[in-house]
Amino acid sequence: MNILRYLIKKLLRLILLLFTISVLSFTLVSLSPIDPVQAYVGAEMMRIGPEQRQRIAERWGLNDPPVVRYMRWLSSLMRGDLGTSAIYNQPVSQVIRQRFFTSLGLMGTAWVLSGVLGFLLGVLSGARAGSWVDQIIRFYAYLLASTPAFWLALLLLIVFAVFLKWAPVCCATPPGVLPEQVTFAQRLHHLVLPALTLSIIGIANITLHTRQKLITILNSDYILFARAQGENLFGLIWHHGLRNIALPAITLQFASISELFGGSVLAEQVFAYPGLGQATVQAGLRSDVPLLLGIVLFSTLFVFTGNALADILYHLIDPRIRLGVES
């Protein structure tokens, strides 16, 4: 089976990738000038003497050579143990799981919204290339392509939360309400602004690409022929355009997952949304090395899965391309 061979190849590649990144990030962290004991002790600095520091270092095995430490970390990684997060006082895998599901709602909504809207805007602007609609859409996409995500988040916060008071200022749930009592509507209410931020940012790229692609297709010979047969613009796009522009759009949208993840780090920071992005920032700011390393590996896995899905989908949709080696 071709698809099986393809999946095995992808899996091997993923393992190699994760291994490289684990070596790379471990090397970086152990080269870092930050003393992990000092970072752990933090504010309690005055109350902890040198002997106790020595004991912490021994307990963590910090006196061993880096290779030994790496092997130890790797072997516990294999068993699914990512260590314990110092700032959340929980196993790293548990922190990542919880936070990821919070983020997933946010990123998923934004991903679908930006994909659908971006595609529609791209089709609209490509079909009416040169018109004022096209000009407006292009200007919008052009401007948004280099808008900082956190600034857009601030703008939305100012307009919708501070002045209009339509949306809450922060967090994923209303303050002072037990997690069990939060309703779906409340969750949605808190999700709107961060998801909107990520969608608006994500639209630009896919719109511009879809527009370009549609213009190329509308200038092709078979469209000219269809036009000569009396097909109108809607029919042209519906019967001939969509199939051809859907594929690049899908690939692009899956490839944008990496950007989406980066955007969610910034958006979650502005809206104090307790997702994985915020945990990343906290891990970096408060020197939680196990959590940071865990997130690096996890985000790699996440982005890789996105790209692999795009590949598989591509092959499923387009009959001309088959997985693996055909010839």
Partner: protein, 292 residues
């Protein structure tokens, strides 16, 4: 397009068209020069005003934009226009430093991979893939954390994350030039590989490199602003644009919108200007579009 040209194909209208093109190019070039001068102006004067920008004036706190203070004043009575200005200049310098390092890394790796080929090429290509498969923001945070934060942390992390795309472009370019007939011939005529690299490959790579450097700017500046905004980059004593926006976030609920809106808009304008500069430069330097 084609129709118009063939309809007006008399000699004079062709001359007219050519003249129009020359003016277009001249206008573009002029635009580029004016822009560069403007940018340098911002860099030079902005840092000089850092001391003035940090002066507090408690009698003029939290003022909305007016003629005296076009960007308003903050909670310590500092003029936001001056603060934005000095912040932008700091961000620009950091961005420039980071983009320069990053493009040099990209150039070096691209050249090495393509010239040595084989295992070396496979090795570097793998690293390019590894870097491209990690989310930018996560690597930025990791690198900034590892290098201990601060100015060095920002420059190192931005420099180390932006080289792969440029390295890939340069690698492809070198491969293309190396297989060209005149380069093959030159080698057959007994030129050393160093001579070939210096006289045939480098001149070909140079424009690509320059444009790549300019197009790295917007990314470098945006990412610098991003990690500074989340607090891993510069300290509040170095008010780069990210710091200014992060500080303004704490005063948003009071309705002082100008603290965030205007500095961010200024950042967007600066980034967009670099984008335009890069795209125009590419159009001029690329032989396929240079005559348009």
């Amino acid at each position: 397009m084609n129709l118009e040209v063939s309809r007006s194909s008399t000699l004079w209208s062709r001359v007219g068209l050519a003249r129009q093109r020359v003016f277009d190019r001249r206008r573009q070039t002029l635009f580029l020069i004016v822009f560069c001068v403007l940018c340098l102006g911002v860099i030079l004067t902005g840092s000089a005003r850092a001391a003035v920008a940090n002066q507090t004036n408690l009698s003029e706190r939290n003022q909305a934009p007016s003629w005296a203070h076009p960007f308003g004043t903050d909670w310590l009575g500092r003029d936001m226009l001056l603060r934005t200005w000095s912040g932008l200049s700091l961000s620009l310098q950091v961005g420039f430093l980071a983009a320069l390092f990053s493009s040099l890394i990209g150039l070096l790796i691209g050249l090495t991979a393509a010239t040595l080929g084989g295992a070396v090429d496979a090795f570097f290509s793998w690293w390019i893939d590894v870097f491209l498969s990690l989310p930018h923001m996560v690597v930025l945070i990791l690198l900034a954390f590892v290098s201990g934060g601060g100015l060095n942390g920002v420059v190192i992390s931005v420099a180390l994350t932006h080289w792969p795309s440029l390295a890939r472009v340069i690698r492809a370019e070198v491969y293309q030039v190396r297989s060209a007939d005149y380069v093959q011939l030159s080698a057959k005529l007994g030129r050393s590989s160093f001579w070939v690299a210096r006289h045939h490959i480098l001149p070909h790579i140079w424009p690509q490199f320059l444009v790549g450097l300019i197009l790295l700017f917007p990314h470098a500046i945006l990412h610098e602003a991003g990690i500074t905004f989340i607090g891993i980059g510069l300290s509040p004593h170095q008010p780069a644009i990210g710091i200014i926006l992060a500080e303004s976030m704490r005063h948003l609920s009071t309705g002082y919108w100008w603290l965030a809106v205007l500095p961010g808009a200024a950042l967007l304008v600066m980034v967009k200007l670099f984008d335009i500069l890069g795209e125009n430069g590419r159009a001029l330097l690329d032989p396929r579009t240079a005559q348009e």
